[in-house]
Point group: C2
Chain length 200, copies 2
């Protein structure tokens, strides 16, 4: 008997290389803690305990709390950022609807909230979040580029800016715990948002 106890469950080194089992266990534990208790109960100690991992192992691969959070966040399956229904209004409705469903039903909402909160403290997290969002606007802007090509949207619309404006609303709802938006209410919101962008 080489170890004192719990030898059967203890993960150990697989040599001079990263252990994927440890990586998975840590990321899963981090996500679980975040979803169950929110950012308030999220600590490296807690993650290490839950994952049965050593703190140095976590610090080796995720130097800061923010980096670990972002890694959890990026593991999430994401919704289609640029649906193509043929009309701008239904495109936006579907985009926001998918996003709300992803945040409400999955773990995405809790994790994303935490990332945003962390970005208010950690400049590195803030930068990473900004880069990510810029990419999202770029991709999502495709909705408006298509609509402009169809002649559905006026020419002064800036696709990336329009995307930012539109997603800002659900951001705020996420951060203020008011994601329970009924479909007809969401339709009204979309109307407020895109009515003025359409060609009269």
């Amino acid at each position: 008997m080489t170890t004192k106890r719990a030898a059967e469950t203890r993960r150990t080194s697989i040599g001079a290389q990263r252990n994927p089992a440890s990586q998975d266990a840590i990321l899963q534990a981090a996500e679980e803690i975040l979803v169950e208790g929110g950012l308030g109960s999220f600590s490296i100690e807690a993650v290490a305990r839950r994952a049965h991992a050593g703190k140095p192992t976590i610090y080796r691969w995720w130097p800061t709390r923010a980096i670990l959070l972002l890694d959890v966040y990026h593991r999430q399956k994401f919704v289609d950022i640029a649906p193509d229904t043929g009309a701008i209004e239904t495109d936006i409705f579907q985009l926001l609807n998918d996003l709300l469903e992803f945040w409400n039903t999955g773990h995405g909402g809790a994790v994303f909230r935490s990332v945003i909160a962390e970005a208010q403290t950690d400049p590195a997290a803030s930068k990473a979040l900004a880069a990510y969002m810029a990419e999202r606007y770029q991709q999502g802007g495709e909705i408006f580029r298509r609509a402009k090509a169809r002649g559905e949207v006026v020419d002064w619309v800036v696709p990336e800016l329009a995307m930012e404006i539109i997603t800002s609303f659900v951001w705020k709802r996420l951060l203020t715990d008011r994601l329970d938006i009924a479909p007809e209410q969401l339709r009204l919101v979309v109307r407020h948002l895109v009515q003025g962008l359409k060609v009269p």
Copy 2:
């Protein structure tokens, strides 16, 4: 000599009542720490040190960090939430412009960011923030009620919802450190936001 040292600078009890001097010193120290170092360096210990106050004094009047933050926040001088220029577009432009200036030049931005971040951890802060925002939308909605009375805005516009949508954009900019919006760019944003709400 009754005290050992620093007797000349030490605030003391003024009897069985709250000491306004201590209250001021604590709130000012809290604001300074928040502005200088952000929420990351904001702790009750740090505030007590800076204010030369005892921790029990702080905990007596501000039971939680969130309550202290909200108190600092409410001390700020606020911009006019419902300017009346006679036209919806210029009303909104002025509102957002004033808000941006307040956040950029004063301490309002840093403090408000911290309140939002704190609300992601503390449910009580979240509730207080939600109540405050609801009141703001109610007041700011006056812009749209006036515009509707003038026949400038279509009838399906919901004043409070429109206000929430419009302020969501600057919220997101505040939280992602991108408040440097040039006047002409802000004018473009306002155009995106209100063009569709106007009577054709």
